[in-house]
Symmetry: C2
Subunit: 345 residues, 2 copies
């Protein structure tokens, strides 16, 4: 016997899938994935997706360069937010009407509907815009962990980061500023440089600097009045990542969470041997696999609350799900600095 709630309106679902790994613009196809099942299992939930971002990491998974390989054919997208439309008889952690986000990587969020196990989703605040909820689980959480897990950072301390206008970088700036931690932010100098500097300063950045100044006398003068950074956050690599490790305080740590330059991560023998720095890596997916669910929920609540209060903002642009190809092009061509989020309704 199934409860009423578990009897689904049978609907067609649409998804963006790939049947082989390859160039995203070639292998990703908007497809009808068929009818949802007629009823839910004991611990299943039915979901109607509201929003999902197109992240660079999602595209790495499509090309095959990511730490997770998808079973093919696969639905793209790892992040998103959905509304619970029905629950199986034994479901206790969420109820119909709740907003949820995937608790696991590789969910396949570029779709209109889904049926999932209760354990595969986490309830999330409905006090924040859907495009914020859809992008809460990876980037703001990565920023949170970077600031929490690698160095003991207190009011007045300094961190340095490259790719500072990335979604993680912007969250780092805001979360650091809320705690009185000063940030040295390295970005590329492009045609939007002035605008980006203003934006990051508006978020609370202490110093914003173009990457070609790294290692220069000007750079040394600019940071001379600040304590040496206790931590560096690197999502670029190559020469840029090397330079930010050279200004670390004795015993400082450089944490890599991305590799936009597609070059090796570098540091100097001198920094490692004589200045006792260390290099670490961070991957939110791996953290989430091992962290107690209560710790993760508490972090998500804290971040959502900051968003609801306007203290943690994201630079987002939204596209209707029906315009998937246009949204994808913007991410592939890096023609926007904003996070690209698909809206499903």
């Amino acid at each position: 016997m199934l409860s009423r709630a578990a009897v689904l309106h049978r609907r067609f679902a649409t998804a963006v899938r790939f049947h082989a790994q390859g160039v995203p613009t070639e292998v990703l196809k908007v497809e009808d994935i068929g009818l949802l099942p007629k009823s839910l299992g004991q611990h299943e939930v039915a979901l109607k997706f509201l929003a999902a971002p197109v992240n660079p990491a999602d595209l790495s998974m499509v090309t095959g360069g990511y730490g997770i390989k998808a079973a093919l054919p696969a639905i793209g997208g790892n992040e998103g937010v959905a509304r619970v439309t029905a629950v199986g008889p034994a479901v206790t952690s969420v109820k119909v009407g709740d907003r949820v986000i995937p608790a696991v990587a590789g969910f396949g969020t570029w779709r209109t509907e889904a049926v999932a196990k209760e354990a595969e989703v986490l309830a999330v605040s409905d006090k924040i815009p859907v495009e914020y909820a859809a992008t809460l689980a990876v980037n703001p959480c990565t920023a949170y962990r970077l600031l929490a897990d690698f160095a003991k950072l207190s009011k007045g301390d300094v961190i340095i980061q490259n790719g500072a206008n990335s979604a993680v970088g912007q969250a780092v700036i805001q979360l650091a500023a809320l705690r009185g931690i000063q940030t040295i932010n390295v970005i590329r100098e492009d045609q939007h440089y002035g605008e980006t500097v203003e934006h990051l300063k508006g978020l609370g950045a202490t110093i914003v600097i173009a990457d070609h100044y790294l290692g220069s006398a000007d750079f040394k003068r600019l940071i001379a009045d600040l304590p040496a950074p206790k931590a560096a956050f690197n999502c670029v690599g190559g020469q840029n990542g090397l330079e930010i490790t050279k200004v670390l305080a004795r015993g400082g740590v450089s944490v890599t969470y991305g590799g936009m330059a597609r070059e090796p991560v570098m540091t100097s023998t001198t920094a490692l041997v004589f200045n006792d720095i260390s290099l670490r890596g961070f991957w939110m997916t791996e953290w989430a696999k091992h962290a107690p669910v209560e710790e993760r929920k508490a972090m998500l609540s804290e971040l959502a609350e900051l968003m609801a209060q306007g203290k943690l903002r994201s630079w987002v642009e939204t596209h209707p799900f029906s315009d998937f190809d246009a949204a994808l092009e913007k991410v592939v061509n890096r023609s926007t600095k904003r996070k690209v989020v698909l809206l499903m309704e």
Copy 2:
């Protein structure tokens, strides 16, 4: 009133000094450094040097590229062994006739005689050859700490190291073999390649491989039967150091203790982010500054005992102190793979 033991025979002392930082063959001069003082202070000891090595790190200190800057004019040499010829009235930790090694960096060991504070020397076994005693404090101790402090290594575990025929590398091979730890040893392929391979295998090396094989399919096949290495020891840097981090086990650590290639230390974003490896540095001088003296003494005793038993051998060649220039040339030109040790008597 001075005790009899504290009244010195007044002797001339000879030393190799530099009055300015620069090219070692140009700035290092054998000089008469004058008469020793007529008597010893309460906590002073008089030393007659027996042997001292010429290490690459000593030369870095002469050129100015080392983590310690010498006060000029400075006597070269950080390591060595001396005999205590007289002690001040309050000295308790060593007695006349004892062999001692410097307890501190920057001692200036390229000399025939010295007066030092009791706390600046450590007694050392007289059961081992002087050329072993003179080279005990840095390289074998570095190998000891590399194996002890960075990864939990048990019987059957594997480490990988480059510069494996360095003095540290050879000590790592022997100490690892004594504990049942397997070693993958990367060396350069030069005209002495065959001889070096045989030598390292004779010390207990599991696998010895030329560096140009790193990253190749052959290399992967060669190490396929071993567990993935839990630790990498890097004294080279550049591409070589990058490749050895790529084969580390999940959560493995790469420890840099030298930079012979004079290139940045590199790893990959993938290894850091998806394989959770870390990069650390090790500097014996810094360790010695912070370690309890009893821990250091215990390590020195253990290593000297292994040497006395023939279980820890060094590849050493000796030169009379009067031939300093010839000895220096051999180190500068890297025309020997052996550790170059000066004999003062």
